[in-house]
Symmetry: C2
Subunit: 410 residues, 2 copies
Amino acid sequence: MFTVLKGVFTNGIHCGIKKKKRDLSFIYIPNVYATAGVFTKNKMVAASVVHTKKCIKSNNLKAVIINSGNANAATGRQGELDVKETSMLAADYLGVNRSEIGVASTGIIGKTLNMGALRLGLDNLLSIFKEKPDVLNPDKKLNDDILDSIRNGKSTADAILTTDLVEKTTTRTVMIGKKSITVTGMTKGSGMIAPNMATTLLFLVTDAKIPKNILQLYLNKAINRSFNMLSVDTDTSTNDMGLLFSTGEHKIDNESKEARTLFQELLTDVCIDLAKKIAMDGEGATKMIEVQVKNAQSVLDAKKIALNVVNSPLVKTAVFGEDPNWGRIVAAACKDPSVKINPNKMDVSIDGLTVYSKGTPVTLSDDERESMFKTKEVIIELVLGIGTSSSISWGCDLTHGYIDINTEYS
Amino acid sequence: MFTVLKGVFTNGIHCGIKKKKRDLSFIYIPNVYATAGVFTKNKMVAASVVHTKKCIKSNNLKAVIINSGNANAATGRQGELDVKETSMLAADYLGVNRSEIGVASTGIIGKTLNMGALRLGLDNLLSIFKEKPDVLNPDKKLNDDILDSIRNGKSTADAILTTDLVEKTTTRTVMIGKKSITVTGMTKGSGMIAPNMATTLLFLVTDAKIPKNILQLYLNKAINRSFNMLSVDTDTSTNDMGLLFSTGEHKIDNESKEARTLFQELLTDVCIDLAKKIAMDGEGATKMIEVQVKNAQSVLDAKKIALNVVNSPLVKTAVFGEDPNWGRIVAAACKDPSVKINPNKMDVSIDGLTVYSKGTPVTLSDDERESMFKTKEVIIELVLGIGTSSSISWGCDLTHGYIDINTEYS
């Protein structure tokens, strides 16, 4: 669940960019304390990413407007104008500066946005804040209809989806000092998922009061261990964006090492949980694949190997077919000549069953071969035996469903 | 066609490694003048590759024994012993040194070879050379049955295949000086195809007399422009091997720049033709994809971009579905942050139809959108507009056939 923390306003509706489903939403935090962001490294960068990146450099975002169904990428000057107009309209409804409004888009690349639909949608979503500004007052009693239209995390989590089959949200709470601190997040993504800074769209909110520069460091670290180790199909999106908002409600001791460690763990846990939800819902996926690389010579090597295995189409199809063809795992693990790996020191196991040990295949019974890849979450472990570094990646199997979804997308 | 040049002996049979199809073959050039080789960079390297690489370092190979149906990779000490025995047996039949016998294997990884079948097969293929050594005498008249069993390029081209649907052979001839010079080759490969030095198995023979050190340079250059720009599924094989034999029949002027250029072009042409045949026969492929990158800032950038586009699962599925979703091409081209590329200077066209020009999508008619990706050989051209370097890559679409083939391989 995405928890609508105190001081947070959000909702999602259908405005007409998609045929039927929800496609427009906002997150609005009028008294935001700090915001941090990570963005795609794809050089074909969407106008929304350029805008939001620029805003976050000098300002804290008070709101983000999110549309799905159209990425507004590779759309030239028109695309830039459309982002500008979106942020101006939203700024007007909310009575804030245009540079405090982030914009995020996801969907097809190369098509101009339906601004007619978007304009009406923004009016539908945001005019209440201009007309009845006292809805922001925490002491005011509001009826259910109004609450539904301004504090509705479920609709937003739905409105940011594209080919996703399920909403992806997580909330975790821990005690830091004497405060109960929450991180809550939502993400989307199913195809065009490959790590680079942030993958897909991701929105996180915490009630911990954390200054902007520190908030950004927390976010970077969490993303590197979660979203940057996630790959459905090796294709990095033009629109990747991950935002983390601090509402500033609860003070924590930002100088204490213990508090810092606790918050980092909390945030990383939420990000890993959300990344795994994307892997599980990868386009056409029937199984999640987790690749654990241990005892590598460096973290960089461990990451490369973990991603090469989780990205291998031959490993992915073997997992889908439950075909005990483990040789493909060792081939994929060793394929990059730039990594340190020695097949004669390596052990490979699948869901706890060792199949290859230090240069030699393990003799398996028919039952053991039969059992391979039968789990819903396949854990592949590679113990390299040449160091102390490790990494984990997440992905999914490659199935007929992926082909079906991606042959008729536009 | 693979042309069995003067002084070359070859044949392929079924020995029992596969259930029914041909699986064992040889190429034997008793008076070979020089040999060159390129090998996989996968660190899980098959015993056959280790052996053949070592042989070629100090010797010219007089023969290569090739089995399909089993890669004999990740098979530990037993795998090494099996390669040793294969080369010893062949050396005995042919009356040459063991270190003059190359071994090449292709097929499933992680399974021990059926040496019983292989031993009988070698006897079947090679005993004639021990029993009737005068079959090697070029002046001796031989009956068709004997010729069929020792100069049968078609059977060899068939016996090296795995999931391939068709044999892949090419022969080209040009005049160099006053000599008509031929390069002839055969290759195999359909899955686990990604460039690294040589991809898959490749055997080339020329009648030009070229010393070993120069022969190797020619081969490296040709491979870099052909097989190293080929990718069906990004997975590099553990068994890749490409060998080039010079029979030494025709002297050419190895010092003349013109002769060198002519031979390099001839060899590169043959390699490109063979690489394209692999792309065309990629597992499950219905279309070949050629990606031409022009006006890049460096050849390395051009290569990376060409490979990123041809490897993109989203581009590959759009081509399969004939879905005019060209935005995926620009996203894939720009996804690697290490390459120089500027979307605002780039033009993209598909089979001659410009879809994106200098930052802006081109307005297309319905007919034009309908026509996209309808050809059997899809040509994607990216003109980057920031330099003078170029590169071409080859691959294929991603289809239900690829999934079917790879879910039940072992």
